[in-house]
Symmetry: C2
Subunit: 209 residues, 2 copies
């Protein structure tokens, strides 16, 4: 299965304001995101499962790869296409074992060393970052465009940039040769359709050059 | 695999004070607990996994069934003997599916209806309660000895009583005919060896009558 990682959207309930998560995701899918990751914190396993089940149906209907953040059991429970784990989650090699070979495994990496290890551990793609400081990551943890390039050149698997990516810096980020940009607020804050339209245009332009 | 549920200990980091979790569990096992459940909240998946891995080795060495609370992925990752889920976790029938038939599935139940549903959904045993009010459960949620009897008589699978069980009320609880008592503080607060010795004596006496 060849995945288009170019516009990888991650849900974040706290950025949605009044919007319903399901409706917000549906709008983003219709507008053209290429991958959806469901990220949930501080809700019960039951709620996470139920939310994932609804989004599984939606993403299947639209043919969008559906990734669950962190919880491998939720991914298995709803037959998601894959799971994304960070360096603070169950180790990637163990996740690959319990997930089986047919599912997508994404791993977060902030250095070339972590990237190479993740690739060796069975990752199908990397979430590289945080590229820029963001509300959830202080600037000391940002790897910048240079850090991103180092990761990209260290591995053969696709690299998706994450962290502080906006319409204003997406072009720069894409110029590093990464396979996609991962966005939370840049997709879900404000007018989703318009956000996705602009980001897709930037992706499309970067591919021409 | 025939499990002895009679003295089912659940870890709770906040009750341990200065004690190391691994050492506390080792002492409890040596003193005679029959099942160990690892319950963790508010730690990363990586820490949960690492803790579970150490306790997996320990429980295997002593031949004690090892159950993980809530996180099916952690249970699969460390090859635990089973998983315990509550009514707020991934639904039992779904857990059974992703866990496979060879693992132990425990489900929390506070009514006969929940108990029957859990049994039908593939539970191997029930955690019935909270029997008494406890620091984590208000008295409005306590099912009492009558509630416990109703659950026990509603199902064929083993029933382990949980919630507020102490040395002072364990005899009463066991007199309802349940297959075991589940303890957190009654095992881990204070002198663990002495706690377990007294609880085992109560279990043993109740079996004679």
């Amino acid at each position: 299965m060849k995945i288009d990682y170019s516009l990888y959207a991650i849900t974040e309930r706290s950025y949605l304001g009044e919007k319903d998560l399901f409706e917000a995701v549906k709008e983003a899918i219709k507008a053209g995101i290429t991958v959806l990751q469901l990220r949930e914190k501080d809700i019960s396993g039951r709620e996470f499962y139920q939310q994932a089940l609804r989004l599984r149906e939606l993403t299947r209907a639209y043919g969008i790869p559906f990734i669950i953040n962190d919880r491998v059991d939720i991914a298995l429970a709803v037959d998601a296409d894959g799971v994304h784990v960070g360096q603070e989650d169950i180790p990637a090699a163990v996740v690959r074992k319990i997930l089986g070979p047919g599912k997508i495994l994404g791993v977060s990496a902030k250095t070339a060393e972590e990237a190479i290890k993740a690739e060796n551990d069975g990752a199908d793609y990397l979430g590289a970052g945080a590229v820029f400081p963001s509300p959830t990551k202080p600037s000391s943890e940002a790897i910048g465009l240079e850090g991103l390039k180092k990761i990209k050149s260290a591995v053969k698997i696709p690299v998706v940039a994450i962290g502080g990516i906006t319409k204003d810096n997406a072009k720069q980020v894409l110029s590093t040769g990464v396979d996609g940009i991962s966005c939370i607020s840049a997709v879900f804050c404000g007018n989703i359709t318009e956000n996705v339209r602009i980001l897709k245009k930037l992706v499309s332009e970067s591919r021409k050059t």
